[in-house]
């Protein structure tokens, strides 16, 4: 069977099986016997305790304490969605299973294993991934990399192992150098309490043919997840990394303040794909940034679903001459959601190019704000940037805003911008219905089509998952 046929069968299966709302919303009670839970709040004592539990090297403890001091000084952001509902005194910064990380799936505790199996994690690994990491609450519970990939010299491990093992120096040289804790309040918070995440190093010239994937599941109630992802793709190397996130529904606030730092060296290429699907009680204040050297390429593919409020603007720093960045993203804001998402491009090197293509969808009174910034420095002569953002509102109570900023400091640059805001067309819905397609299905097809620039960039299973999420959002009240 060729790939297209598989794709069709998968799509057909997903469409005909309908939607399993339970898929992401299941939650498991965490008992004291199985889970260690740090008390709520953020104090020096708590930060020291986390550091000790994690067996941090001395410099990391210092780093955490400095970050904490910064956190106390830096103001809350006042330019985006309100985060008044988030009270750090009610958030447990650290929750872990009492079981250690496993390299064998069979050894992962039963309840956690079940959770991931429901999400299809080990299955995906067997079928189409070069390596998998699975984080549950604050710590990785499972990590593995295919033998042939490991033989190529590819390092794929949890951050803690990287920090205490032979890659300590490499981690030290890069950790929060791209996103310093001074960047904003939640970067400082991340620096103080980060835990979990993945470390990837792809050596010079190594092309990893199939993707690596880390999946982050925040199961605990009233907790924070602060995973750190650090990826270094060395000269001429090539990697596709996939990140998936989800959490069950609670009626009190949860916080996700992860940090992703991507180093793309000379002539290297990195594709970073994400499907985030948070529950509606989540404050998603995530920071992602890439720096690209000469001739390198970063490609972001991003699907943002769920959460109560999101601030998310993956940033590409195009430092080297001729480097290139692409961002393709979709955001879906339903009832009670305020999602502020977009991308940021900083052109420093000569003849750099960037391309932003985003789609925002809002429904049921949801607010979707597209916010982007393209900065072309004086040094970036001969650079090109193009921004294309589209919004689709599914009813008259939803909102969509577009805030694109452009700052060009050289006259030898070319910046294009196009924005379209529209509503779903009743005529188009009728057109599809006149072919026998039920109304809800017709609407979902139009919305999936609108979001297709993103799903087309995702591997098959993830594109199917994304279309499924769109259907769930469309049917949800």
């Amino acid at each position: 069977m060729n790939q297209e046929e598989t794709k069709q069968i998968n799509q057909d299966r997903i469409l005909s099986e309908g939607i399993e709302r339970e898929l992401y919303d299941f939650r498991d009670e965490e008992t004291d016997a199985q889970f260690y839970r740090m008390k709520e709040g953020l104090t020096e004592e708590i930060v020291r305790e986390i550091s000790e539990m994690k067996h941090d090297p001395e410099w990391m403890l210092e780093f955490r304490l400095k970050s904490l001091a910064l956190y106390d000084q830096i103001k809350m952001p006042d330019w985006g969605p309100s985060i008044d509902g988030l009270n750090m005194d009610n958030i447990a910064a650290y929750v872990r299973s009492r079981s250690d990380m496993k390299g064998s799936w069979d050894e992962v505790p039963e309840d956690i294993k079940n959770a991931f199996e429901k999400l299809g994690i080990p299955q995906a690994e067997r079928e189409s991934l070069a390596g998998v990491g699975a984080q549950y609450d604050s710590e990785l519970v499972y990590h593995s990399v295919r033998e042939d990939v490991a033989k190529q010299g590819v390092v794929y491990t949890d951050m803690e192992s990287a920090l205490t093992g032979e890659y300590e120096q490499m981690v030290k040289d890069h950790f929060m150098k791209l996103v310093p804790p001074t960047d904003h309040k939640f970067a400082a918070l991340h620096g103080a309490v980060w835990s979990g995440g993945s470390f990837v190093y792809v050596p010079k010239g190594v092309k990893v043919e199939i993707p690596l994937q880390s999946y982050f599941r925040l199961n605990a109630k009233g907790a924070g997840q602060f995973e750190h992802t650090l990826i270094i793709v060395d000269e001429g190397a090539d990697l596709h990394f996939i990140e998936g996130c989800s959490a069950p529904k609670y009626n009190i606030a949860n916080l996700h303040a992860g940090c992703v730092e991507l180093y793309v060296r000379k002539n290297a290429r990195l594709r970073y794909s994400t499907i985030e699907n948070w529950s509606r009680n989540m404050y998603n204040l995530n920071t992602k940034r890439a720096i690209v050297e000469e001739g390198g390429v970063i490609e972001w593919v991003s699907g943002s679903f769920g959460s109560h409020e999101s601030y998310l603007y993956p940033t590409s720093v195009l430092k080297g001459e001729g480097s290139h960045a692409e961002f393709t993203g979709v955001t879906f804001a339903g009832a009670g959601q305020n999602l502020d998402t977009g991308a940021k491009m900083i052109h420093i090197g000569k003849n750099t190019s960037s391309f932003i293509d985003t789609k925002s969808i809002s429904k049921g009174g949801g607010i979707s704000t597209y916010r982007s910034s393209v900065e072309i420095r004086k040094s970036a002569e001969g650079s090109k940037a193009s921004v294309n953002c589209g919004s689709l509102m599914l009813d008259s109570i939803s909102r969509s805003d577009t805030i694109p900023a452009v700052d060009v400091r050289t006259d030898k640059a070319d910046v294009g911008h196009e924005a379209k805001i529209g509503r779903i067309s009743d005529d188009a819905v009728f057109y599809l219905m006149s072919r026998g397609i039920p109304e809800s299905e017709a609407r979902a097809m139009i919305v999936s089509g609108f979001a297709s620039p993103v799903s087309k960039e995702l591997p098959l299973e993830y594109a199917a998952e994304m279309n499924n999420l769109i259907k769930m959002e469309m049917e949800g009240g």
């Binding site: 046929e5 069709q8 069968i9 799509q11 009728f430 219905m433 006149s434 026998g436 089509g449 979001a451």
Partner: protein
């Protein structure tokens, strides 16, 4: 099967701003081809849309039966599933949804069964060849960037693939050059022959009728049917226009 496939009984319909159709009655038997002609703005498309169940139009009186069943209150999707179809005067564009994917979804909705992909592909390729459509169109976004003629061909392609019992063809010939009209007619003939389906052909010209057998013709002016008859009505319109009917 009922003696009449489609029975339009004294239908009045319109939009918020006012009535458009005023007591229209029309019956179409299985396998019959009817023609609906009339000047611009007479209500032809409105009648097609009301038959197909476009919620933009409110039916204020009368009823519609299909195969003996009262469908006046039924949604468009249900009507299609019963075997109705309309080729749109202005087919809509749906970015990101390919023509092929769309047809496949529609067939699956109708049959309620998974599609046999190989067979489907073969039928699609044959139908596209008949209509002189390049195979690359199957993967293109539905009607996006299609010329007027390509859109109409894509409508007839759907007609051939969905195999309805009854199809409304709204101005399928308008804006097409001579060759395209001929190709589209070929598709319609194929439908008549293969499915023995019924047709309501809406047109304000008569070019498309040259190669098709017509059982009945109706003239609509200002929302009312003003004349009904056989093929000779078409000839009369050809010579005298609609003046004689108003």
């Amino acid at each position: 099967m009922a003696e009449k496939l489609v029975e339009i009984e004294n239908i009045s319909a319109g939009i918020e701003e006012g009535q458009i159709l005023d007591g229209v009655s029309l019956q179409i038997g299985p396998g019959q081809t009817h023609v609906l002609m009339g000047p611009n703005g007479a209500g032809k498309s409105t009648l097609g849309n009301v038959l197909m169940g476009n919620p933009v139009y409110r039916v204020s009186g009368g009823r519609i039966l299909f195969d003996g069943q009262d469908i006046t209150e039924l949604g468009a999707d249900k009507r299609a599933q019963l075997g109705m179809f309309m080729s749109f005067q202005n087919p809509l564009e749906v970015p990101g949804l390919s023509l092929e994917e769309f047809i496949r979804n529609a067939i699956r909705q109708k049959t309620g069964k998974p599609i046999k992909i190989f067979q489907f592909k073969k039928q699609l390729a044959e139908a596209m060849e008949l209509l002189g459509m390049d195979e690359s169109y199957a993967g293109r976004d539905l009607n996006v960037g299609f010329s007027g003629g390509e859109k109409k061909k894509a409508e007839i392609l759907q007609l051939l693939m969905l195999r309805p019992k009854f199809a409304i063809l709204d101005e399928t010939d308008s804006g097409l050059d001579v060759d395209a009209v001929r190709t589209v007619s070929k598709g319609i003939e194929e439908y008549q022959k293969r499915e023995e389906g019924s047709l309501l052909i809406i047109t304000h010209s008569t070019r498309i009728l040259e190669s098709l057998h017509v059982d009945h013709a109706h003239i609509i002016v200002k929302g009312r049917l003003v004349a009904s008859g056989g093929e000779e009505l078409v000839a009369k319109v050809n010579e005298e226009g609609f003046e004689a009917f108003s």
